[in-house]
Amino acid sequence: MNAAALTAADWQVIALSLKVSGVAVLATLPVAFGLAWALARWRFFGRVLLDALVHLPLVLPPVVVGWALLLLLGPAGPVGGWLERTLGVTVMFRWTGAAIAAGVMALPLMVRAIRLSLEAIDPRFEQAAETLGAAPARRFATIVLPLAAPGVLTAVILGFARSLGEFGATITFVSAIPGETETLPLAIYSALQIPGAEARVWALAGVSVLLALMALAGSEWLARRHGGSGGRVL
């Protein structure tokens, strides 16, 4: 695969994929962290139910997730209708919708990674910090967050990879609109429908692999720079 084989349309697809995946992961991260925190640290009624709910996108066929998003966030749906009428915002058929679909699909993986790292933190370190004068917010910022950092990094990488490869929920929710929602997997699928477009399939698939490898390498570099202990993420 060489860069010369990529057309302007291909570059548009790649840029869009990076934007959608990047925004999906960054927007999902705080949500995933909150859920992971609740599941790892709190004992409350309905915790098992919440756990199951978080895992749904992992279990359900992606098209079902996309369909659920369609019903909920489509302009005829309860949330989507309200958004359009009151704020004039539509996420359906827009890159923001693609990012939502990718974020929802990435959520369970991200929650799992962060939750594991939170559960691995010995709560006695927080007790030690408490006796040294650290209020809850300070303990969170200086003890919990740094110790959970490898898990958060893993969550970001896994989430990014999952978002980059997201297909079923995206095409069901926001269709494949060039320049708006047609991300790499959708463009590959579309090229597969055209006889003789195999070259494009190979080129775009090659780009996908390359991006995934770059993300992995980047995370390794980050982990190493932040004091070895973070080590491998995958």
Partner: protein
């Protein structure tokens, strides 16, 4: 993290509600991909904004219209879904027209030279050889497969090949099975066969052997106080007009 989130929300809120000022969004059945892309280019050359085209299975697109998709026009590969939308007043009834028709053909890999005439009781099973399978789009769910099964049933040969079907997820995937020699024969739309250099048409199915294969077009009814896009109506007229029909004809579609 909080600052980032705020920025994201701001970004989301800034995103304008329509795709572009005037370019209409057209949802179309996947089998129209090449033909409509060419038509859209021609439309744009006539000093119109180039329509934004989204291709997928008609069923998926129809569900998106039901969910209030911010799109202006829908071209379906089958009438059922268009009827379903019409029943819920999701399309502008007066704008519905039959855009084009399609035909079914029996295909084989390009290098082949099978001679087979399609008629009542024609020896399809024998033509498949001892172990070959007949490539079809899923006859249970996908329109192209449903039409193919109807044709074979009316010709009385379905029972002889029912156990030898290679069902694909869509008609292009079925054609790919023939292109790569995994199936010696397949049934696809005439337009698909025309688009591929790797298959050869063995014979055309008589149009009377299956329900009419028609592609209806309609404007999508605006909801939530959206304004109708006049360019969508212009593109609809263009497709139904002489130039648009000529482009569609070149890609193997028949007149409605």
């Amino acid at each position: 993290m909080l600052r980032l989130l705020t920025a994201l929300i701001a970004l989301l809120a800034l995103t304008p509600p329509a795709l572009a000022a005037t370019a209409p969004t057209v949802l179309a059945a996947a089998s129209l991909q090449e033909a409509l892309t060419e038509a859209a280019d021609a439309f744009a050359r006539a000093r119109h904004p180039r329509p934004v085209l989204a291709f997928a299975a008609s069923s998926a697109l129809a569900r998106q219209v039901q969910a209030g998709a911010p799109a202006d026009m829908f071209v379906s590969a089958d009438e059922q879904w268009m009827d379903a939308l019409a029943a819920k007043r999701l399309i502008v009834a007066a704008s519905r027209r039959d855009l084009v028709t399609n035909a079914l053909v029996l295909i084989e890999p390009a290098a082949g030279s099978t001679r087979l005439a399609i008629a009542r009781g024609f020896p399809l099973a024998r033509a498949l050889g001892a172990s070959g399978r007949l490539a079809l789009a899923d006859p249970a769910a996908v329109p192209a497969g449903i039409y193919a099964k109807a044709a074979l049933t009316s010709l009385g040969v379905w029972p002889s090949v029912a156990g030898r079907i290679a069902a694909a997820e869509n008609v292009r995937a079925a054609m790919a099975l023939v292109e790569h020699g995994q199936a010696p024969l397949g049934i696809v739309y005439a337009t698909d066969a025309l688009a591929s250099a790797k298959v050869r048409v063995v014979a055309r199915f008589p149009s009377a052997s299956h329900p009419r294969i028609v592609y209806p077009v309609a404007l999508i009814a605006p909801i939530n106080g959206r304004a109708a896009n006049p360019e969508a109506e212009a593109f609809r007229r263009f497709l139904l007009g002489r130039e648009g029909q000529a482009i569609l004809r070149r890609h193997g579609f028949g007149p409605a």
